[in-house]
Symmetry: C2
Subunit: 199 residues, 2 copies
Amino acid sequence: MDVEDTKYNNTKELILDAAEALLQDRGFNAFSYHHIAQQLGVKNAAIHYHFTSKTDLGTTLIRRFRQRFRDYTRTLERENAGPVSKLECYFAIPASYLQNGRKICPLGVLEAEFNAIPEPMQLESRLLDKEMRDWLAGVLDDGRSQGVFNFEGSIVDKTLVVVAALQGVLQIARVAGPQIFSVTVRQIKRELGVLEKAV
Amino acid sequence: MDVEDTKYNNTKELILDAAEALLQDRGFNAFSYHHIAQQLGVKNAAIHYHFTSKTDLGTTLIRRFRQRFRDYTRTLERENAGPVSKLECYFAIPASYLQNGRKICPLGVLEAEFNAIPEPMQLESRLLDKEMRDWLAGVLDDGRSQGVFNFEGSIVDKTLVVVAALQGVLQIARVAGPQIFSVTVRQIKRELGVLEKAV
DNA sequence: GTCTATAACGTGATAGAC
DNA sequence: GTCTATCACGTTATAGAC
């Protein structure tokens, strides 16, 4: 049993994977232990062995999102990625959500259900939001300093618009179709002054 | 019993009001007939008399949003409101949601829970989205033609970014605080070229 | 139009065998 | 670590009295 076995192929991780997909597909209050159990071919009680409560499961899920984002940005740092490259990687996250079954941003789900989720999950949501938005603000700041971005307004203001627009458009894509996503990303890039080609 | 009585002060309308608040506060799957009944001081079955199913209630709710928006825009038309004025009125909608208990856009809620709401509600959601976005696109088009707006990109692209950003920021306000709303609106205006004062 | 009563079901959760 | 069995509860919904 090497290190890999503790990371993958164990039920706990599979439960989290299933729960994550269900969260981004239906929302926290619209999936149950039974959904997960059925998907993994186990029984209800097996999930409870790994996560004593649904609150526990939900909180762990958000912590995993946070850790994943940290790992992702650290990798970009190690590769000495520039602001433009970092921005592309940031856009790649919602893009993969959309492709992988029209999922939406986890934070969008949690915020939409915010007043109907357990407090520990609310706290974790706040942290996830802060970490992601702070990171993007840094990228925009660097890009502007280096002259590869060109946009109006303060860093904070601009970061908010970008984050909110991406979160929103993933949701709208469910009623308006997936093609609106790339359209929106194109417009966001335009307004960041990073257009590769002229319009 | 005059006309007013049929519009207000009847239980059916009060149920819709309560359901609407609950929808924008907790989401469709996180409120029940009991919540509404309790709030109105009636019993569960009374709600069922007016709305046979929760699907019925939800669908009626979205139809009411659609009707309200239609009425609102018609009023603006009757008043010969210009594009700038119309835009301000459009921003006033999410602003009132935020003020009135940190509610979020109904469409945002419905889209977040999209795969967990009844099909009739999904259909109504599509219509509401199309109607609102088409209207705003018209406003942006007029404003640009008249030279009171000044922005990059196509009307469709720009409309999407504005709508998505507003929808997103209301959600983010729940974890980041209400003050981020006006910040975002300010940035959106900046990028529409309608800033009243210099930054 | 609203009530009481109740049905039928899904849910989160626990106890105890294997 | 997973199972069966079971509990307590909330939910949508219906029947029938008032």
